[in-house]
């Protein structure tokens, strides 16, 4: 039996096709790896921003006062909050070499963003305290007072109805409180300061393409509740 061999031309053709296919495969793999890195970078930036924004908002809502920026519209890259717990006061948010940090009391400045998200801009604005409305209510009357955990709470009840309102939560923006001296109930707004903040972040290197942009700015706002 005569076995047909492979000619030189056929060999050259096979090698050429193999080289071309290898080149295409290599280019595709590099492209896939680059795009995968980009997706990971975007996800990491999103996670960092979400955490940082929530952290700032939650800390502002749990604070008593903001000393920096100044009241009445002051702006600046540092937020200084007075907290109810002395050990955590002041709590300071600042930007250090592309990392957002949080310092509680005399403790160290702890980073709250990772190296995966470079913070390129941070700004806080302390907007004017809303005018507090406080007037003696004729509908709400003092009912009782209770002590809990060292705090005194006055309870006002709606005249003729079973509705009562405790001065407890700092989350509600309007509450009814009992005036200890006058023995009456006042209706008051609870908002004190509104802190507006903006965070500009970018991926650390050229991991993201031009269509996403070199950076993105996120805005947020939170209210420091009125203190009893």
């Amino acid at each position: 039996m005569i076995r047909r061999g492979v000619t030189i031309i056929e060999t050259v053709m096979y090698v050429a096709v193999l080289v071309i296919m290898t080149g295409i495969l290599l280019a595709f793999t590099i492209s896939l790896m680059t795009r995968s890195a980009k997706v990971r970078a975007v996800i990491e930036v999103n996670q960092n921003v979400e955490f940082a924004m929530e952290k700032i908002a939650a800390t502002v809502r749990n604070s008593k006062d903001a000393t920096a920026p100044a009241d009445g519209g002051g702006t600046g890259p540092i937020l200084t909050l007075t907290m109810p717990e002395a050990a955590k006061s002041p709590t300071i948010f600042a930007l250090t070499e592309g990392v957002l940090t949080m310092q509680e009391g005399s403790g160290p400045a702890v980073p709250i963003t990772s190296a995966g998200a470079r913070v390129t801009g941070l700004n806080f604005q302390n907007l004017v305290d809303p005018v507090a409305h406080a007037r003696t209510s004729s509908s709400w009357i003092p009912c009782k007072k209770e002590e809990y955990n060292g705090w005194w709470f006055g309870v006002c009840c709606y005249k003729g109805k079973d509705k009562c309102w405790d001065v407890v939560s700092a989350w509600i923006h309007v509450f009814v409180l009992r005036d200890a001296k006058l023995g009456s109930c006042l209706v008051a707004t609870a908002a004190k300061s509104v802190i507006r903040y903006q965070l500009t972040v970018s991926a650390p290197a050229a991991a993201v393409g031009a269509e996403w942009g070199s950076s993105a700015t996120f805005y947020g706002a939170a209210t420091i509740p009125r203190q009893n």
Binding site: I24, F28, V39, N46, E50, P130, V194, Y219, T223
Partner: protein, 132 residues
């Protein structure tokens, strides 16, 4: 030779499919980032509406509004029918729910592509407690 062509064709199909999946994933990651920005802008609108209502119930006017920060004093005010920032347009719609309650809906829109509009909404009910 035929086997080689067939193998090359299969490889190309696999690569094309993988590339398409990767493109979708990429687009979704970018879109989630834009949506997070839009949600943050909407939440700011909610906080601003609460601040305006706390200042004066009558300042929370019915209708469509944009937001601005007054210079003296520096506080949130309604201005125009919408405001735009970095490609995001925010509209605050205030409507009456009952005599002492107003419904605030903050709508943020943006264009991820020229032929497409994306929207996020947040809503809130505010009560005028000063009349109780």
């Amino acid at each position: 030779m035929i086997e080689l062509v067939f193998a090359a064709a299969v490889m190309l199909i696999i690569m094309s499919s993988s590339s398409a999946v990767m493109s979708v994933t990429e687009r979704q990651a970018e879109e989630s980032s834009r949506q997070a920005q839009a949600l943050a802008i909407a939440e700011e609108g909610i906080q601003a509406s609460i601040s305006i209502a706390d200042r004066s119930w009558t300042d929370l006017e019915l209708g469509e509004h944009g937001l601005s920060i007054g210079s003296s004093p520096a506080m949130w005010i309604f201005q125009g029918t919408s405001d735009t920032n970095a490609g995001y347009t925010r509209t605050i719609e205030v409507s009456e729910s009952d005599s002492d309650t107003k419904k605030v809906v903050v709508i943020v829109t943006w264009h991820p592509r020229p032929d497409r509009t994306a929207t996020v909404e947040q809503e809130l009910l505010l009560t005028d407690w000063t009349f109780i």
